[in-house]
């Protein structure tokens, strides 16, 4: 089996989609979408871009299965780490990330 070998047409379509997704992400931000939905849309678009880059630019679609296993397992571990940590931070009482105020004022001049 030949690994890789994207055609010019595939490359053109891949990057047209990627540029469109960048513009889409920018338009959503400039449209004033905020809060949870802004985060959801932005991260979803970035995830979609990752999928396109991995499948076509990194030629995962035409790679052997052993590479596919690595490419699937690694993001799952990443997702697990991010989700569990954020859930922990959201739900633990008392909040774990309270940072005590630091005195950053400049030292007073000597009398």
């Amino acid at each position: 089996m030949n690994e890789g070998r994207s055609s010019l047409k595939t490359i053109a379509i891949t990057y047209a989609v990627l540029y469109l997704l960048v513009v889409g992400n920018l338009v959503v931000a400039l449209a004033g979408v905020s809060g949870f939905w802004a985060l959801f849309v932005a991260v979803s678009i970035a995830g979609l871009q990752t999928l396109v880059v991995a499948l076509f630019s990194m030629e995962l679609l035409r790679s052997r299965r052993s590479i596919g296993v690595v490419a699937v397992v690694a993001p799952l571990f990443v997702l697990l780490l991010v989700c569990l940590t954020v859930v922990d931070v959201y739900t633990r009482q008392p909040p774990p990330l309270e940072v005590p105020p630091v005195d950053r004022s400049l030292p007073s001049p000597p009398p």
């Binding site: 960048v22 690694a74 990443v78």
Partner: protein
């Protein structure tokens, strides 16, 4: 001796298996890199969940234009590299050298813009670790956390871009010297894997540090 044809190492049966092993090795390396960056992204996510308002203000304080220009530059660099690989496989070595060098140049432009952005921040008194006059005027600790995660994530990403630029320059030189030909195109493909990964990391950094700025 034709250097453009890779030497078959004794522990591989044939060249396709050798090329596959090299690609698998790079994918495993990238998996470890993904875990490294995920730690930093988790830090950002946890603190953003805890201090949403100051993180939003911090994002609004960053330069959206420079961040967006850098996104297009990195994406264009990736396009050049995909075309370079296509050209090398089609035995158009000169074009491939040119496109690989153009990718490295895109990385260099990205670094210059990023350095300009950091210089603007430092002129405002924003230094890593919450040092500088900005944090005297804004004593809320979340500001220091936001900018430290900003410098940390974009800094480690910039280190990866710098390494990528070096590898691209080296690969372009090797191709120019006819040490990498169509039969060894997998070597350029491996460089491409690294560069596309660096691109992916930025595709997440861009919204997190430049786009998510609208008040709830």
């Amino acid at each position: 001796m034709n250097l453009a044809v890779p030497k078959l190492q004794h522990h591989f049966e044939d060249l396709p298996k050798q090329a596959h092993a090299a690609r698998l090795g790079m994918w495993l390396f990238l998996a470890s890199e993904a875990l490294f960056f995920s730690g930093l992204f988790t830090l950002y996510a946890a603190y953003r969940a805890h201090y949403p308002e100051i993180f939003r203000e911090g994002v609004a304080h960053n330069d959206l234009v420079l961040g967006t220009v850098n996104t297009f530059i990195l994406l264009t660099g990736s396009l050049f590299l995909s075309l370079a690989l296509w050209a090398l496989r089609a035995a158009r070595r000169a074009l491939s050298v040119l496109l690989t060098a153009a990718t490295g140049l895109a990385g260099l432009v990205y670094l210059i813009i990023k350095a300009t952005e950091w210089a603007h921040h430092m002129a405002e008194g924003i230094f890593p670790g919450g040092r500088g006059r900005f944090f005297v005027e804004n004593p809320e600790p979340a500001w220091a956390i936001f900018y430290t995660s900003y410098y940390g994530l974009t800094g480690f990403h910039a280190i990866h871009v710098t390494v990528g630029v070096g590898i691209l320059a080296w690969t372009a030189w090797w191709m120019h010297r006819e040490r990498v030909g169509p039969a060894a195109a997998y070597k350029l493909a491996i460089v491409g894997l690294y560069w596309h990964f660096v691109d992916i990391v930025w595709l997440f950094l861009w919204p997190l540090f430049y786009l998510l700025r609208n008040p709830a």
